[in-house]
Symmetry: C2
Subunit: 280 residues, 2 copies
């Protein structure tokens, strides 16, 4: 008999996850959503093996549950449906913050294994209409297992990450995840919107190069989603924003001073850090 993965929420990430999971071992994929247009799109595009509007029923017959809702939606879902999960089920999510989610999962019965996931992929669009089964290719897949997490489930997440095309699986704690993600993801989005707040934005048509397009690409963000992500990770994010303000001010001061030797030395230091980082 087939095993089942239930995807709760067929938005950009949930829809992409359903498509990417197609053909994973002997699992059937059940997509769950309440929005008629989303379900119609999922049906006509074959996004999942089955579709349902009944989350409780889908959860109670699943071996793996992927919560692909916004952060507050996940918190509410765990609370509402906590009695529906079967013992032994692996429950995971795709959310960009982890502490608030894993804390919320404490409402689950002990026999239900919650392991936080964060596949580091996205787009500056939302909804199933932009879903893409190749979205996770080359992305890091971050997991935050708990001490009591079942090793077989950790191993299962490794196989899933491999199947959907992720480059690696990074194992970390919820606190470390949220502190670093404030830096590598959240503040990049804050910068993009802050750049668009400049009064000269609409005068700059015809003067944009690749660096401007790259930096502001993510500014047209999903406002309800990012409001939750930012506000549910506020202390870590505010610390990183303040660091960035300080680092920008330091550059402004050395440029304003007219000391070009000091500016060159400072630029060389930063550029060397980037080269040393060698992310690619």
């Amino acid at each position: 008999m087939c095993k089942r993965i239930a995807i709760i929420g067929l938005g950009l990430i949930g829809g992409s996850m359903a498509m990417a999971l197609k053909g994973f071992e002997d699992y059937e994929i059940v997509g769950v959503d309440r929005d008629p247009a989303t379900l119609e799109f999922a049906r006509t595009h074959g996004v999942a093996d089955y579709l349902s509007t009944d989350a409780g029923q889908a959860v109670s017959t699943a071996d793996v549950v992927y919560l692909c809702l916004h952060p507050r939606g996940i918190v509410d879902f765990l609370s509402t449906y906590r009695a529906c999960f079967r013992p032994g089920t692996l429950v995971t999510d795709v959310c960009g913050i982890k502490t608030a989610i894993v804390d919320a999962a404490a409402v689950l019965p002990d026999e239900v294994d919650f392991i936080g996931s964060h596949p580091m992929a996205g787009k500056e669009t939302s909804g199933i209409f932009h879903a893409d089964g190749a979205l996770f290719r080359g992305a890091h897949y971050i997991i935050t297992p708990r001490p009591q997490s079942c090793p077989e489930h950790v191993d299962l997440l490794h196989r899933i990450a491999d199947h959907i095309g992720c480059r690696d699986v990074v194992n970390t704690t919820t606190a470390k995840h949220d502190a670093i993600i404030a830096y590598t993801s959240q503040v990049m989005h804050i910068m993009a919107v802050a750049v668009c707040d400049d009064p000269d934005l609409f005068d700059c048509k015809g003067f944009e190069g690749g660096s401007f397009r790259d930096c502001t690409r993510v500014a047209a963000l999903d406002v309800p989603l990012w409001t939750e992500l930012f506000s549910m990770n506020a202390p870590a994010l505010c610390k990183v924003i303040r660091n960035l303000e300080d680092n920008l001010r330091a550059y402004r001061e050395v440029i304003a001073s007219g000391d070009t030797a000091a500016l060159a030395e400072k630029l060389a230091w930063s550029a060397d850090r980037k080269r040393h980082m060698n992310l690619e």
Copy 2:
């Protein structure tokens, strides 16, 4: 008899320009550099129709001269070789700042027509070894003609921009160019290096997504070049950096306040500006 375009300086931009200009109307391309390794690479890769180490001779036999040196190098070149240019020659450049360059061109005789150019393309690498004839495809080509500039030369620059694949030609003043470029290009580079100054940089391996890679891509910059570009446009750049510091602080304060409705409203405002901008 063929007309001649002399490219002074076969670095990343000069080398790419020579390659991109290949086959332009009935012009021969003469590449000028002093570095033996650069010349050897240019020779074996057919970067130009002719190569020379004699800038004075190349300038005195050219109909069009492209100055593809660093900003201070252009200023010095104009001063050193001002007597070598023929009357009626179009002299232009590829520099990312325009006021300092066009001011320096005042040393040229009146019959020599200097029109500043800035093809908005680049890479986070330097030198002819990274030159690419397709570098300018889709880029804006900005020009800053002077009141006395010859209309035929402006028209010639339009045809050149079209030949090398630029999407359009933007006609502006040196002051407006430098003010806007501080925003659309220079501060993007300052942000990239400032982000790399964060103490957590080396802890973030495994946690980077597309937005982090995009934003920091330009951080490994050419230090001598950008030291000149930043310091020769310091007042405009410092103003934009300060705006960005203010806009980041405003985001930090609303996030720290816990007022999620205000945060959502602020994000919606910025995201709408980005959508309205619709740069692509």
